[in-house]
């Protein structure tokens, strides 16, 4: 079973993303901010995908992305940003940092699932 880490400060978003991916056969674990997400990614080397919010307390998603891609253990994990942000410069920054995709909230479940299935390793 492919394992996905969902990182978002909204419990509702984590539940909804987890529910949609869970119904499609993914195993889902959650983190509430970038620091917690980074810690969990370090403990779960078998992650197939990280679904990552941008605007979060403690550590934002783009800083977490930089840290993930700077560590050889977590660098190969595909990252999908799921965010309210549509700022071109932030999208370009994520792309350069090594993210695989960007989804802007609110997103239909079928679009989320299509993106997860396309990007999960």
């Amino acid at each position: 079973m492919k394992k996905v880490l969902v990182v978002d400060d909204s419990e509702t978003i984590r539940l909804e993303v987890g529910r949609n991916l869970g119904h499609a056969g993914f195993s889902v674990i959650e983190a509430r901010d970038g620091q917690e997400g980074l810690n969990m990614a370090g403990r779960h080397a078998d992650l197939s995908l990280i679904v990552l919010d941008v605007n979060m307390p403690v550590m934002n998603g783009l800083d977490m992305l930089d840290r993930l891609k700077g560590d050889t253990a977590t660098q190969p994990i595909p990252v999908l940003l799921l965010t309210t942000e549509a700022q071109d410069s932030l999208i370009e920054r994520a792309k350069k940092a090594g993210a695989k995709g960007w989804l802007i909230k609110p997103v239909k479940p079928e679009i989320l699932l299509m993106a997860a299935q396309k990007l999960a390793r």
Binding site: A86, G101, W102, L119
Partner: protein, 172 residues
């Protein structure tokens, strides 16, 4: 050099109107249709939930508040959502849409994380003469209120498209 910010009713009205459009689009995306209320905000004994977000850029800064009764907030939410969490996320998504609309006019802002409060008889007390936007929904009223300050020379540029829109997937 430090930018001096001022209140300008014309700019506040434009940005308030953008936020009102953003709110209507956002709630529609969650299946709730907003219609403008015939009268302004009325204090109520219902428990209201409010999400508050700050935003700041080189040429504009301000605060956005979204407030509605619990049932109205939950009418837009996925199953099992808690109102405290969801109103913060709704405010976050509202300001995200407002940010996109401002960027389409060449204005870039950064946003804070949401603050949430609840209470009864909440009432906006605007500093300026620009009234908050009040909407009717099938389950209650919804308030969208902005306080905005701008660079004295602030203007909105001509409309330009962004790389991506709400709901879209960009694969890299």
């Amino acid at each position: 050099m430090t930018t001096q910010f001022v209140e300008r009713s014309d700019a506040t009205q434009r940005i308030q109107a953008m936020a009102a459009t953003a709110a209507a689009e956002l709630l529609q995306a969650y299946g709730v249709t907003l219609s403008p209320a015939a009268e302004g905000w009325v204090e109520t004994d219902e428990l209201l939930y409010s999400g508050v977000m700050g935003f700041v850029g080189d040429r504009v800064r301000g605060t956005c508040l979204l407030a509605a009764p619990k049932d109205t907030i939950l009418s837009t939410a996925p199953a099992d959502a808690r109102p405290r969490d969801w109103v913060g996320e709704l405010a976050n998504q509202l300001v995200g849409r407002l940010k996109s609309k401002l960027m389409q006019h060449g204005v870039t802002i950064g946003v804070s994380t949401p603050v949430v409060l609840s209470g009864v008889k909440l009432s906006p007390l605007p500093r300026s003469d620009v009234a908050p936007s009040v909407f009717e929904t099938p389950t209650g009223r919804l308030l969208v209120w902005l306080e905005v300050e701008v660079d004295p020379e602030f203007t909105l540029g001509s409309l330009r498209p962004l790389m991506a829109a709400e709901g879209e997937f960009l694969a890299f």
